[in-house]
């Protein structure tokens, strides 16, 4: 029963990773870039929410609704200022520029919020600790886990509907397929890219909110979140949105199963799964990355 429980907890944990990874996957799908500051942006979102909760005493969820427009605007500006320029300069520059940005965000957070560890779990009214025990404790269903799974399904579902059913979504997919052709039929690819990044940053902030609720965070928590998010994206298949949800869950299950063997192996098990998938998937030499599949 304990392994069954570990798998179940892994699914809940994986839903969290999927939310973290969603924006990363969207940006890769639309612009073919990986934002190495993605984890730090999620942590920044957590801090903005934390600051509002700290000042007003509001519920973290209400505070997040206030923080969200700030983060979306930040994403929009980030694209127009840094990423747009980086995109034009080849494969390596976006990685270098966002790595620099990652260091800047981490250390600005250190300066503003001090290195102290923070958490928001206590202000959620018990959501982070409530759980239901089944089979005389063999299986536990945490309220936070169920919430995360629901949030992940809503986020991925909404993004799917946006991309497949709305005009703005069609424009985004057209730009992802071929930005030059999209320009020819009157799509402003700059605006599309800026909105893609804005949405990605908004979802990353949501990931940050749940990071703050389910555990603790500090200014240097970002890189680990980036690694987990990227692992979810790669395990699920780069460029595939629903794949990222499955990839996140696979990563979560690998970590909880690893922890079942030895608590210190949790993260290592996730890394091993990621490296194995990389080796198998890219076992053939590829000239171009796989095209967007949705």
């Amino acid at each position: 029963m304990s392994y069954a429980n570990a798998v179940l907890q892994g699914v809940f944990l994986g839903a969290f990773y999927a939310v973290l990874a969603c924006g990363l996957s969207l940006m890769f799908g639309v612009m073919r870039i990986i934002n190495l500051a993605h984890g730090d942006i999620a942590v920044l979102g957590a801090y903005v929410t934390f600051a509002i909760v700290d000042r007003t005493g509001a519920s973290p969820f209400v505070a997040f609704l206030a923080a969200l427009p700030v983060m979306i605007a930040l994403g929009y500006v980030l694209q127009l200022t840094i990423l747009e320029r980086a995109l034009r300069s080849g494969l390596l520059v976006p990685l270098l520029a966002t790595f620099g940005l990652s260091i800047v965000i981490q250390n600005l957070l250190l300066l503003v919020f001090s290195p102290d560890v923070r958490a928001l779990g206590a202000s959620t009214g018990g959501l982070n600790t409530a759980s239901l025990s089944l089979f005389s404790g063999g299986i536990t269903i945490p309220a936070l886990g169920v919430t995360l799974l629901a949030v992940a399904l809503v986020v991925f579902g909404a993004l799917h509907l946006f991309l497949s059913r709305t005009r703005a979504g069609w424009r985004m997919r057209a730009t992802a397929e071929d930005p030059d052709a999209a320009e020819l039929i009157g799509i402003d690819s700059r605006a599309v890219y800026a909105w893609a990044t804005a949405i990605a940053v908004g979802i990353a902030a949501l990931g940050g909110l749940f990071l703050a609720i389910r555990s603790v965070f500090d200014p240097v928590s970002g890189p680990v979140q980036l690694i987990f998010a990227f692992e979810a994206v790669v395990i699920g298949g780069m460029g595939s949105l629903w794949g990222t949800l499955l990839g996140g869950i696979a990563l979560g299950v690998a970590q909880t199963l690893g922890a079942q063997v030895n608590p210190e192996y949790a993260v290592l098990a996730g890394h091993v799964l990621f490296l194995a998938v990389l080796t198998v998937r890219f076992g053939r030499v590829q000239l171009l990355p796989a095209r967007v599949r949705r």
């Binding site: 890769f28 870039i33 990986i34 190495l36 840094i82 320029r85 980086a86 300069s89 494969l91 390596l92 520059v93 990685l95 270098l96 520029a97 966002t98 790595f99 620099g100 940005l101 990652s102 260091i103 800047v104 981490q106 250390n107 600005l108 250190l110 300066l111 890189p223 980036l226 690694i227 990227f230 692992e231 790669v234 780069m238 210190e264 993260v267 290592l268 890394h271 091993v272 990621f274 490296l275 990389l278 080796t279 890219f282 076992g283 053939r284 030499v285 590829q286 000239l287 990355p289």
Partner: protein
């Protein structure tokens, strides 16, 4: 019109470099061991910058995980020294072992491109760090001292470590210089300029990249060994830290990506900054990150690349130049 490699400046400068290397060897005879330790740090930075540039500047391989080799090299030194191997011999064995590990890693890593490679290497470093943390004999997560070196008089110890650092730096930079000037070098520079074009001209891109990857693996392992010898105490959190990658990226981007001299300039600059702002602190890192991003976006060939273009300097010649035929000196090969 003729094809030229050496110019008068480059002859003088290359000879001067050799003289400087010889003069540097005499440093421990003249200066205090504090200066010697600082210079050892500078040599480690130069070595790291040159190796990261070999990967990114010539192979197009942007690694955020070279700290894997730094950490493995440092811990291998401790491991062999604890087995009873004399410490300085243990360092050489450690470089060999840690460097050889780059061959199996290259088998999977070189199949990846851009972000997959960058983060794939990062995860490799994280995994290595977790594995080291499990080993009680290596001090687990709390770190371990290279206690065998305590028995050596500090003045001699500092001098030996410095000479080892100088030797490693000269060997690895010399190897890179030789490699870039050999017939292989032209194909490496072709990969730097346009990988797909080089492949279509029949260059075996993967084999060339493997060569660079293994060279950088050995070089970074050597740097890791030197870190252990220079600081005498290591812990997984610092030797496997992604901060090393941040430093390497800063040095190479500011100095000049894809130029031979640039990373050396970048290393000297970072060393100067580190000695000025000794307490480090967040502002210093904010500046480092912002500067790296700025150079990536605005001056992708760094200070040296820009100077080279404007002034036509050719100090350590690794390319060929077409002279005559109307324009004095055309672009880099």
């Amino acid at each position: 019109m003729k094809v030229q490699r050496w110019t008068r400046t480059s002859r003088i400068f290359t000879a001067a470099t050799a003289v400087v290397a010889l003069l540097l060897a005499a440093v421990p005879e003249v200066f205090s061991s504090d200066v010697v330790q600082k210079l050892t740090t500078l040599l480690i930075l130069i070595l790291l910058a040159a190796m990261w540039n070999a990967l990114a500047g010539y192979g197009g391989l942007l690694s955020v995980g070279q700290q894997a080799f730094i950490g493995i090299g440092a811990y291998a030194t401790i491991y062999f020294a604890d087995l009873g191997v004399p410490p300085y011999l243990a360092m050489l064995v450690a470089v060999l072992l840690a460097g050889v590990i780059s061959v199996p890693i290259s088998l999977f890593a070189l199949r990846l491109r851009a972000a997959q490679f960058a983060i794939g290497m990062w995860v490799t470093a994280e995994a290595a760090s977790i594995i080291v943390r499990q080993d009680q004999n290596l001090g687990a997560g709390t770190g371990i001292a290279l206690s065998q070196l305590f028995k050596i008089d500090p003045i001699f110890r500092q001098a030996y470590t410095y000479w080892l650092a100088l030797a490693f730096t000269v060997i690895f930079l010399g190897l890179l210089f030789y490699l870039l000037r050999s017939p292989l070098g032209a194909s490496l520079q072709a990969i730097r300029d346009d990988e797909d074009a080089a492949r279509s001209l029949g260059v075996n891109v993967t084999a060339r990249k493997r060569l660079l990857f293994v060279l950088a693996g050995f070089g970074c392992s050597a740097a890791g060994v030197l870190v252990a010898a220079n600081t005498l105490f290591i812990e997984p959190g610092s030797v496997f830290s992604v901060q090393w990658s941040a430093y390497m990226i800063f040095m190479v981007l500011v100095g000049g990506l894809g130029t031979f001299e640039g990373p050396i300039v970048g290393a000297i600059l970072l060393f100067a900054i580190q000695t000025t702002f000794t307490q480090g602190g967040p502002w210093y890192l904010v500046g480092l990150g912002a500067t790296a991003a700025f150079f990536a976006l605005v001056l992708p060939r760094g200070l040296w690349g820009a100077a080279e273009e404007r002034l036509g300097w050719r100090l350590l010649p690794v390319g060929y130049w077409v002279v005559g035929a109307g324009n004095k000196e055309t672009t880099r090969p």
